[in-house]
Subunit: 466 residues, 2 copies
DNA sequence: TAATTTGTTCGTAGACATTTC
DNA sequence: GGAAATGTCTACGAACAAATT
């Protein structure tokens, strides 16, 4: 018999005691899910403290812990020690960012890659398809890629400054595919991976699917904070770290050389598995002083992911990876289990393009395009012109009083799609808020300029800008 | 202070008490892993009962439960209620079956698909690559496949007898890729899926990677036992079921029409998610009376997987799926998260081949080849000739006294690679044992015949045969 | 068939760390 | 800067279910 009567006690959520069936913790999550889906529990609502809810329901408090933990794994809530447990923000189950093809919407959300140059690859496709050895591309052999393709892949990685683990070069079906493979093979459900507080949304979703817990780390203008990372490592038994050291998505931050050294030391000290996502790798061919690849600093603990989607052709789904020796077998195994193999035809086209000069041409054109769109952006948003720096998207700070959804919806009603930083947020709310404005989807410079001007006007008009 | 002295007590494994650090359960698994890897604990060794080990270590028995459970998730052990916990059989971490390319080995292990006919696709590749609309294949659009490709895919599935869920047709990067996507999106770590006691090895490995528990169900000559399935469902909160209804791998069993009905009823009653793997789908074009697709019997609960690897070209990595409405969104999301998209170029080639007659030609040739190799097998192994039935591999019963490894190694020393049924075994050991003899990798009929004759001789010589 | 052995599930409490006030 | 609030991790015992004898 409960001793306390909570009938009037102000709990933000009062599960129905009578509907509580064994197992309690599952039943509790069911009720919570219902309350969230029906709108009774709104995003960011603070749930009752575990001990209070336990008293109210007359069950052990660790049972509530368990329910809250499960709800967190399902993406329904997030908890902060000392503060409380809250209903998750956006996560309406499908957080993934993909292109919106509605025709009346101007797309500044999806981050594409200047697809107008894609036609340049045609000659290479024809070259490969008329080759005599087409047949060797069409069987089950060589799950990690043909030796000759891997050699070319490896040379490309050398060029962009990745010097280690050459012998462990493999071909996968794009960068996102590489991340799936890595998360499946090197991590277990419940493992923890450190990430930037604002992280690539598709990685967040993939981690959620995999049941991996992401630990958000704060950052500053030089990138992820080494101090915060160290603190979390001491505390939390973190197994891996996911980084986009160059042109971080969505922050646009490139980690400084000094910070790379600090982070690398921590990665070694705490034996983290480093996942280095170098999704804009081709830009290293043009930077005057490319920064050190993190993977070169911790070659025994890293997997380096080199997608060709942004650098060359997004539709062919080819990426390269280099893994530390210790991961080689597991990764090979997972490649076979997820893909069987990557289409060797696609790999042949990509590697041929890297050899016959077509890739260079496409990359150069992308570079020109990216330079141009950044100039447009800088002009409209009154920034200092960026020099020797090539962002595919930019971050526009906005007032954090407004919810991400509110801003996105307002803009959408005005025919513009952008993503608010909330979409990339790991864990609890943050004081800083910004819009990620993609410069890559509108291939026509004039249309981009018009759209950016409209964007700015709407932001000012609604007092979203700060 | 422990009261009992176990110094002489016969425990099959005596973890070092002094090395036991907190958290105990993890530390225990570490020690176990070490003992297994160093060979101190051999496969199938019975571990001490949880309560005994707990007494020995002077810790709570539920802590041992937890350690055993974790070790099971890692694939190190398996437990049977009432019997005990055992060190896992083969699982030397990489169970996956892929082709062995050593040149002195005759391959009867890997299950390929008569690759000699692959050259026929060349004209189609050239046709597609010289098309004018190549560019539309090369961008980020349409993660689940271009509408026109999906239409052709859908028509093909109609032809092979899959009539439901037409509107939910999607393109993925092959059958194995489909399985990854399904396991990632519709299941969580710790969920249970019912499978045949002998199941496709790559599915076992994928489930292990994903942290899904497979529940083995017994079968008979008509396929999976409905009685056993029902019993396990009553007991175990099973969430899904994985079936290869036609030409089950490795059993070669095709589920009878009647059994399909029974299983479908159970799938409905227990609300299971059906994963139907129709990996030899093209054979339905030639069977006189194709059996009902299970997915048609439970269209609201199924995902139907139609790989084109075996049916057409293994190297292009294209497969089709049809999902129940309720799974559509989750699957779409996972497709994007695992693949971003399937190479539309590959999809274009495959769908074009389905239209221009090349696919028919390849399939007909595969049919001829498969008929021929089955006749060779029947003759050498003195079977009744199989009529109107087209196995890519055959099951040869062997004496279960010998370990799978022993038989495989003996054959390998004689230059022949085959797989023992142990490789496909889910959970505990079984009385029945057989070799899966693949008929697909040796394209030359004479070489196959010679190899089968040698195989038979070696089996007899070593008294492996029964 | 009943008793025993053994693994599994679940609820619970203690110890601890962080955040807030 | 200390106390209170709060979430997290881990160990454990009771109840249960299956297999064996």
């Amino acid at each position: 018999m409960p001793i306390n009567i909570f009938t009037d006690y102000p709990l933000s959520w009062r599960p129905d005691r009578s509907r509580l069936k064994r197992p309690y913790y599952q039943s509790l999550v069911e009720q919570m899910k219902g309350a969230i889906e029906s709108g009774h529990l709104l995003p960011d609502t603070k749930l009752p403290p575990q001990r209070e809810l336990a008293d109210f329901l007359d069950i052990g408090f660790a049972t509530v812990t368990r329910a809250y933990k499960l709800s967190q794994q399902r993406g329904l809530t997030y908890g902060v020690v000392g503060r409380g447990t809250y209903v998750a923000k956006n996560l309406k189950f499908m957080q993934t960012i993909s292109r919106n093809n509605a025709h009346n919407i101007r797309e500044l959300g999806f981050n594409a890659s200047f697809e107008a140059n894609n036609y340049l690859i045609r000659s290479t496709v024809e070259e490969v398809s008329s080759q005599t050895n087409l047949v060797e591309l069409l069987n089950y052999d060589e799950p990690i890629g043909l030796a000759k393709h891997r050699l070319i892949a490896s040379r490309y990685m050398d060029q962009i400054g990745m010097t280690m683990n050459k012998e462990n070069t493999m071909i996968v079906s794009g960068g996102q595919n590489a991340l799936s493979i890595i998360l499946l093979s090197l991590f277990n459900s419940g493992d923890k991976i450190a990430v930037d507080k604002f992280t690539y949304a598709n990685f967040i979703e993939l981690a959620r699917l995999r049941g991996i817990e992401l630990i958000p780390i704060n950052d500053d203008s030089e990138g992820m904070s080494a101090v915060d990372l160290e603190q979390q490592c001491r505390l939390k038994n973190i197994k891996g770290i996911y980084l986009m050291p160059d042109y971080g998505n969505p922050t646009t931050i490139t980690i400084s050389e000094q910070r790379r050294q600090l982070l690398a030391q921590l990665i070694q000290r705490y034996k983290l598995i480093l996942i280095e996502d170098d999704y804009l790798n081709f830009l290293n061919l043009y930077r005057q002083t490319p920064l050190t690849k993190m993977s070169n600093l911790v070659p025994e603990q890293s997997i380096y992911v080199c997608s060709m989607s942004k650098s060359l052709i997004s539709g062919l789904r080819v990426g390269f990876i280099r893994t530390a020796n210790q991961f080689r077998h597991s990764i090979e195994n997972a490649i076979f289990n997820v893909n069987v193999k990557t289409s060797a035809l696609d790999a042949a086209i990509v590697t041929r393009a890297l050899q016959n000069g077509v890739a260079s041409k496409i990359m150069q054109q992308k570079l020109n395009a990216v330079t141009k769109v950044n100039a447009i952006f800088d002009q409209i948003f009154d920034n200092q012109p960026t020099v020797n720096d090539y962002h595919f998207f930019r971050a526009v700070p906005v007032n954090s009083q407004f919810s991400g959804n509110q801003i996105e919806q307002t803009l959408l009603q005005n025919g513009i799609r952008v993503f608010h930083s909330d979409k990339f947020l790991v864990g609890s709310a943050d004081r800083t808020a910004f819009l990620r404005v993609s410069l890559t989807s509108l291939d026509n410079g004039d249309e981009l300029a018009d759209t950016l001007i409209d964007l700015k006007a709407i932001l000012i008009q609604n007092q979203f800008l700060i």
